[in-house]
Assembly symmetry: C2
Homo-oligomer: 105 residues x 2
Amino acid sequence: MIAKTPTPPYYAVIFTSIGAQLDQDYQETSARMEELAQKEPGFLGLESARSKVGLTVSYWDSLDSIKHWKMNVEHELAREKGRSSWYQSFGIRISKVERDYFFEN
Amino acid sequence: MIAKTPTPPYYAVIFTSIGAQLDQDYQETSARMEELAQKEPGFLGLESARSKVGLTVSYWDSLDSIKHWKMNVEHELAREKGRSSWYQSFGIRISKVERDYFFEN
């Protein structure tokens, strides 16, 4: 559940959202997007949680892979629905992971 | 609740955790750490959510600010408690935000 990412550098897309109407259509589309992302070239992993805000961090091998996923047609349609229906607001941050550290008991 | 960060570049610390025993001491320390982080030089904001995993992303102006916060004594003690009691496992990723995009309805 903690993504098994390779040695840095790699990329993280941090998606933070506040929901307006996170209905069943949202839940289904969300699961579908996760399934699709996993098939994308350069996808490295995904972590997601929701409390007052939703946070989803996906990991990628390059900016090109992120761009390729952004252009996926189903993903484009989902983002449109996100803007028109599901989200009150959101932020997307594209970042380059320079260092990481993992701990396990 | 979506952090108001400045124009990139800036830094994001992505903390992903799986809890073992997230008791009241954890809740209090967690709130205290958030309060302390906000007083640190170079702190830009924080976003947090918990489902099966916990995700906390804090934003900073520089690697030096991140290092300074890491050396805070109360924070060091909290991390020790995290490793010995609260968490089953966690990952920390230090990343440089290169681009961002925000949407609001």
